[in-house]
Amino acid sequence: MPLLAVRNLRTRFATDRGTVRAVDGVSFDLAEGEVLGLVGESGSGKSVTALSIMRLVPEPPGRVTADSMSFDGTDLLRLTEAQAREVRGASMAMVFQDPMRSLNPVLSIGRQLVEVLQRHQKLGRQAARRRAIELLEMVGIPLADKRLAAYPHQFSGGMRQRVMIAIALSCNPRLLIADEATTALDVTIQAQIVDLVKRLTRERGTSVIWISHDLGVVANLCDRVNVMYAGRIVESAPIRDLFQRPSHGYTLGLLGSTPRIDGPALRRLSPIDGLPPNLIDPLPLCPFLPRCRVSVAACRERAPDRRDLGHEHWATCFAELGPRAP
């Protein structure tokens, strides 16, 4: 049984201009110890998917519905706010892009870590303090016992993000959601954090949802990828299949837009032209059609169904793309 099973998740926001369909029928499973990548551009619904799972979408103006959304046997949608808070602290944790905005600037690092441990693990002050030091050491912060008294502004961006990860891991969550957790960090620090996440999944069997628009990090870290566009999953595949046989026009566009440090230097990138789609009045066709470079006649007639490509790989795209040239 998967740790997390999401069926037909829909998250909408009421605005003055109409209802925004931020997440529009998303379904997926996440197994124990699996690292799942959610890839797509701003506004594709990756973060709102994560926030919906965490029950962090404010309702109203938001409205989250699903046929089911079960985490370790619990239906997340049926939880009261108080129950949701218990699950969030103890079994699911989330790390955001900007650690400065997630940490309280007037409380010491130690206080913020100890607070979580006392609240969710019911540890005493001394025990919580010892555990806080262990956690900081685990995420690679040197002189952890002295650093407990430091405030967030005294830490670099990379150290702050490691503190956020330490807080997220403090209650041994079974699911860690990282939302662009390394996007704002320098590449050498990003490599340290990715290393840490790999170690966690290996040593503790933590399941991870890794949200990113960086296909490089995803290729390095994830077991499986869901590519999102306009609030929907447009392609889902095991990591190697996605890169060997990208099967949606949008996935192809993302790969063509990404400059690489290896291989022959390309003269030109092939960007995705145009702008992201309107989520208020979506097309009754494939949402990517206006920007697609591989569209076929059928794309202009009806919306594509999910096409099964074997090896747990599927895409909602009419174009027959075949394996990618190396």
Binding site: D186, V187, T188, A219, N220, S257, I261
Partner: protein, 321 residues
């Protein structure tokens, strides 16, 4: 070919001169850029790459050194000369929205650049604004829109448009695509390349992203804590990085290919950048360097030449030669 811009022993120190705690953001760097070429300036946050860009344009006053532009030292130019030369030297920033006045419509934002330098007055002005918007791929109807109505990619096009309005020769691009989605990033990168071809522009392209820099640059300089540690032509530095910092930086860039990712050896650097107010003695990278020896603490390493166009500052390179 003669250099359009030549930077000699440039230093930018913040804080009282010589006092402890002075931050040596840029500490003695030299390079030159030929007309129509792109120099990539890479390194992590705090390495001094942006400060270098600002100091070239005299947006922060350099402490010592020379910035020669077509023979004139900008560091010693009077304000009139500087103002005249600024028309030739422009800059675009990472956060385009923050660099555009939120109360001005796009047409005025572009027109303002023309007005300041007294270009295309009267009837010609409106036509020139349309021409410029067209040049950067923005539809004419955006002329009455305000910055908050634009996407990140469109805002960056407006910023590029403003820079181009005064017909510059050199543009300092300070992380111009780092805040953009990868699909939009590729659009802007291609636009900058098109403009360079059409207008013969010279770029100093500042970025922490080595993949984008590889795509944009002819020559690459790697900075660490205020110093250039390695410099070479693009093909040389990506094929044969010599400095241990460059190697670590390159190994840290993930490649969008799971098979090659599985085979790559990653050099994980320990710790963060040291405090620039109190940098390590000798080689500044030695505290995080995987191959540092005692001698690295003694002297600031001189450049070691790998070829006529490729050098790196690391004493361990001498051993191999």
């Amino acid at each position: 070919m003669t250099a359009l811009l030549q930077v000699d022993d440039l230093r930018v120190h913040f804080g009282p001169v010589g006092a402890p705690g002075t931050v040596k953001a840029v500490d003695g760097i030299s390079f030159s850029v030929e007309r129509g070429r792109t120099l990539g300036l890479v390194g992590e946050s705090g390495c001094g790459k942006s400060t270098t860009g600002y100091a070239i344009l005299q947006l922060v006053p350099p402490t010592t050194g020379r910035v020669l532009y077509g023979g004139t030292d900008l560091c010693r130019a009077d304000s009139g000369t500087l103002r005249r030369l600024r028309r030739k030297l422009q800059i675009i920033f990472q956060d385009a929205h923050a660099s555009l006045n939120p109360r001005m419509p796009i047409g005025d934002l572009v027109g303002e650049a023309l007005d300041i330098h007294g270009l295309h007055k009267g009837r010609a002005r409106a036509g020139r604004i349309h021409e410029l918007l067209d040049l950067v791929g923005l539809a004419g109807h955006l002329i009455e829109r305000y910055p908050h109505e634009l996407s990140g990619g469109q805002a960056q096009r407006v910023a590029i448009c403003r820079a181009l309005a005064v017909e510059p020769e050199l543009i300092v691009c300070d992380e111009p695509v780092s805040a953009l989605d990868v699909s939009i990033q590729a659009q802007i990168v291609n636009l900058l390349q098109d403009l360079q071809e059409r207008l013969g522009l010279t770029y100093i392209f500042i970025s922490h992203d080595l993949s984008v820099v590889r795509h944009m640059s002819d020559q690459v300089a790697v900075m660490y804590l205020g110093k250039i540690v390695e410099m070479a032509g693009k093909d040389e530095i990506y094929a044969r990085p010599a400095h241990p910092y460059t190697k670590a930086l390159m190994s840290a860039i993930p490649v969008p290919d799971p098979d090659s990712e599985a085979q790559r050896q990653r050099i994980i650097l320990a710790g963060d950048l040291p405090n620039p107010a109190n940098p390590p003695s000798g080689c500044r990278f030695r505290t995080r360097c995987p191959i540092a020896i005692d001698a690295c603490a003694a002297t600031d390493p001189p450049p070691h030449a790998m070829s006529a166009t490729h050098w790196a500052k690391c004493i361990r390179l001498e051993e191999g030669s």
